[in-house]
Amino acid sequence: MKKTFLFEALHAATDEEMAKDPNIFVIGEDVGHYGGSYKVTKDLHMKYGDLRILDTPIAENSFTGLAIGAAMTGLKPIIEGMNMSFLLLAFNQIANNVGMLRYTSGGNFNLPLVIRGPGGIGRQLGPEHSQRLEAYFQGIPGLRIVACSTPYNAKGLLKAAIQSDNPVIFFEHVLLYNLQENIPSKEYTLPLDKAEMVREGQDVTILTYSRMRYNVLQATEKLLTQNYDPEIIDLISLKPLDIDTIKTSIKKTHKVIIVEECMRTGGIGAELTAQINETVFDELDAPIVRLSSQDIPTPYNGTLEQATIVQPDQIVNAVKMIC
């Protein structure tokens, strides 16, 4: 075991995979000499050279398309969105080509590529840098969407995403890069389509992902002192949802609270709610509770920003209300 920051876990995953497969390359803004804005590719250009750690001009739609062309012709690109919000500028390439091209071409071309980078609300970064693109991307056919949340799962999931022959959108979170924990020294991967059981419990199923996992855990500390016993599931796979794991839990607890950083309307929680209603409605003893961010641009002011996203106390109250 080795004490590792989350950004180091992502670095190690990239390095290990690149060492094994010379077709893998990283492409993005400041991924090379600068080392990536969160240092996920720090110094890799020295080991692999400038073509394998390719610093691009600031041209998101075009460098994403370039990676697509490279993937179609045999390479395995890892695209870093310096901030995932910047990839709104690459939305056409991601939607039309990353998502649909394999299908549209009748299987002529595979797209073994990963698009990764930080999403989510940080600390007073203002509305444009605080977006959660998972809801925008979930409507695109042909994409897998994964959100990591710990150094351990970040490494195993990123390695699996890089090894995958299908395109994967891989969300990190600006506030989680400096999390630290012991992770195995030897190589491992984790399945891209499996949710993670964070805590087993009996009273209520709390479904969450990415940074909100930690707000849920904070709330849980309080809840435990008051004799509540929540089950916490980190979704990991935002598309497709691991509905089997979710169903199994609901059959035990019969109550669901969704805690997400996504905006409420049309978000991941909205899709979860629909799928749960469609598949295990009869098991529910209460309406699903959805705790999401407000449907507003994330304000700069710190107090307002906090009021935009779900706070631990809201989670505590929701559990008390439903149980």
Binding site: G65, L66, G69, A70
Partner: protein, 338 residues
């Protein structure tokens, strides 16, 4: 724009009789194929937006027939003829347009999404400009093969086709920059047919001479008469030589005209009769025919034999498409993921 015909476009180009006949046959294939598409569209055999290439054949044949099988071609929504020139069979393209399982994309793509991995044909991109980055990526892959994977084969070259309207789109400028920066083996071919649906080129473009924009990126830009297949072939050979030698990209602006509307759904009301007539008089197939006969390269009997051969290929493609099975609904989700 200088619309004068060059008297002798062969001056710097040495092609054998058989190479010239290949160009002729390929242009006729493109012409007859598109004529048949129009018929089949109006008979309700194909659907959606169908954009025909009629009039522009000299560019597809002049550029793509100079390529090797290992080279790449990347097209737009007006892609049938580029695919045919790259070697995708008329059967596979026609069956795709009919939406059949035997189409090159199993009936999933249709007219604007022709792909063939076997022929290094990268698409078939329906939205303006989105093929340019993809083509640039294929060219990046070529230098990666050489410099990172140390493959000893010569550089493969990517040809990337798009229209005049696309050159006002950011992806055009962004990719010219990256291609020049990294000396990628790519040839950008602007088929300037002067109309972006109903938008006349000078109404949308501050500097209408597109080839001059190459200078901003430090790459050669060449203007060529896109109705003269031999002239197109000649500039392509120059650009190919540069690309293979690792000297980087070239921008070719081929001046041309589409003889039909933007798509088969376009009433084509804005282009003047006189303008159309002037360009139809410069038909690239008639032009090569005259050239070959005047220079004793081929007899009209030989050319007619080729025409008949191509006609039978097209008829066969329609028969093949007609008799091919529809994709099975049980395979609706097939090809989404590997």
């Amino acid at each position: 724009m200088d619309l004068k015909q060059k008297k002798d476009s062969l001056s710097n180009l040495e092609l054998t009789q058989s190479e010239i006949l290949t160009l002729y046959e390929d242009m006729v294939l493109g012409r007859y194929f598109e004529d048949m598409c129009a018929q089949m569209y109006y008979r309700g055999k194909m659907f959606g937006f169908v954009h025909l290439y009629t009039g522009q054949e000299a560019i597809s044949s002049g550029v793509i027939k100079a390529l090797k099988k290992s080279d790449y071609a990347c097209s737009t929504y007006r892609d049938h003829v580029h695919a045919l020139s790259k070697g995708v069979t008329a059967r596979e393209v026609m069956a795709e347009l009919f939406g059949k399982e035997t189409g090159c994309c199993k009936g999933r793509g249709g007219s604007m999404h022709i792909f063939s991995k076997e022929h290094n044909f990268l698409g078939g991109f329906a939205f303006i400009g989105e093929g340019i980055p993809v083509a640039t990526g294929a060219a990046f892959q070529s230098i990666y093969q050489k410099q990172v994977l140390h493959k000893s084969e010569e550089l493969s070259v990517t040809t990337c086709f798009f229209g005049d309207g696309t050159t006002n789109n950011g992806q055009f400028f962004e990719c010219l920059n990256m291609a020049a920066l990294w000396k990628l083996p790519i040839i950008f071919v602007v088929e300037n047919n002067q109309w972006a649906i109903g938008m006349a080129h000078p109404r949308s473009t501050s500097v209408p001479e597109i080839h001059t924009k190459a200078a901003a990126f430090g790459m050669p830009g060449e203007e060529v008469d896109g109705m003269d297949v031999l002239a197109v072939r000649e500039v392509t050979e120059r650009a190919l030589k540069r690309a293979r030698a690792g000297e980087g990209p070239t921008l070719i602006e081929a001046l041309t005209y589409r003889f039909r509307g933007h798509s088969l759904a376009d009433p084509d009301e804005l282009r003047s009769f006189q303008e159309k007539e002037a360009w139809i008089a410069r038909d690239p197939i008639k032009r090569l025919t005259t050239y070959m006969i005047d220079n004793n390269i081929a007899t009209s009997i030989l050319l007619e034999t080729i025409n008949q051969k191509v006609k039978s290929v097209i008829e066969d493609s329609v028969e093949f498409a007609t008799n091919s099975p529809e994709p099975s609904v049980k395979d609706l989700h097939k090809y989404l993921f590997l």
